[in-house]
Amino acid sequence: MTQDDRELQEVMNQLSLLEPGPGDVPKPASRALAEVQRQIHAPRSTPLHTFWRSFFANSNRRMATAVALLTLVFAFALSFPSVRAAASDFLGLFRVQKFAAIAISPQQLAVLSRIAEEGLMPGEIEVLSEPGATHSVASLQDAAQAAAMDRVRTPSLLGDADTVFVMDGGQARLTLDLEGVREILTMAGADPSLLPDSLDGTQVDVVVYAGIELDWDDGTWLVQMPSPLVTYPEDLNYVMLGEALLQALGMSPDEAARLAQQVDWTSTLLLPIPQSTANFNEVNINGSSGLALSSLDDDYGAVIWQQDGILYLLSGQGSVNELIRLANSVR
């Protein structure tokens, strides 16, 4: 036996401490298999369904994800379309034209998760109509009709989708509770005094329109939906809100102040990306700016972009370059 072999053997002996002990015997394989089979046959959630549900479609989840909602509301409030631009002189309206990603550190994510777990809310949320119900439809024409879209865009480089879903839209109203928002900001390490007292009781309305999801059997999926609409009082200081949000996402006060002034909050959808889960970079899709994300955990990626008032999210396995190629073929 060589010296290397002897040393390796010693290490193997030390590692044997990690072996399961008598109390660590797993449940019998037959029981584990039965549980796996139950999960296999559980009703399927589509990626789009999961996407929305994780934000606010499910009431239990809704109460537990104050931070996700806060982020969503900020992001939406700072983003949306001018479909109703002429509707009222007293409302602010925004359209998503571009995207900006901000990396969140594992430490800040832990802080935000703790806030979510404590169920802190930025105000009262009233769901006027619940989004998220997903229906399978037989054809693209049926999907377009059900989602009230003129037509369904498809990537020419892929064949026909194997499944087509339509997801119902919905509507919600958030009445901001300044104390709640300040508590969240304080916990997140942001400066609560950035928010003026006048913010208390501000109403923010979010309308999510019906969307369409195309699924391919190789795991690729494409979601498309008109930009959601957010309305809020015209005098809302969104630069200040943006600065608070950036601080809550982990930026230093100086960085947050500088970036809040630089970002065009009337057209930029801010996407917080946990550092430990994905890489991201800006991309150009059919002449529009977008973001490409690649997962650090597996070989999945996603591309998100906006074109002609429609938001697109394309995801699948393989290289990001391949996804960008597919995204560029969406017509």
Binding site: D4, L17, P20
Partner: protein, 198 residues
Amino acid sequence: MMNDSEEDSVTTITDNLLLERMSQGDVASFETLFHQHYDRVYGLLFRLVGNRVEAEDLTQEVFLKLHQHAFAKNRFSLQREHNLSAWLFRVATNMGYNAIRGRKRRWQRNMVLVPDPQGSPNAEREVERREQETAVRNALSRLPERQVQLLLMRQMEFSYAECAEACGVAAGSVGTLLARASKAFRDAYEEETGERER
């Protein structure tokens, strides 16, 4: 008696037959593969996460992924030989590390491979054993993931060929990589126990 590589090729052929049947919709083949690989996948995950319940859940996740790949996504091409063990252990290692990262995020811990603090052993010997176990885990947490995977798989008596495939290295380099990983572990363990004594 078969040697390492003969045994591997027999296993691989059997697995490939079962995978082929799975892709044709044969549920029984999935069940057979599950029973064949369940204990070893669990064993690897337990060593990584140090907690029975979490290791059981992750083991189920690994097989759900296998099912999804084989049935729903047809990821296992029939024209290609697959080393299913290697695939399963690669997926299990990734999932184990993801779980540890999630735990780190939840608890804001700075160490990888920290055992979940389940139970509170009172017996002195058990406490000492847990301390040694923690030192081993902390030492492992200082190593690159691939070295940890290699050491744990070898400790579980995986063949060099399986280690090579799961870790994405050439079979011929496994011995050298193991020696290097072993040295790195001993250095880290010494540092760990030295720091604890200081």
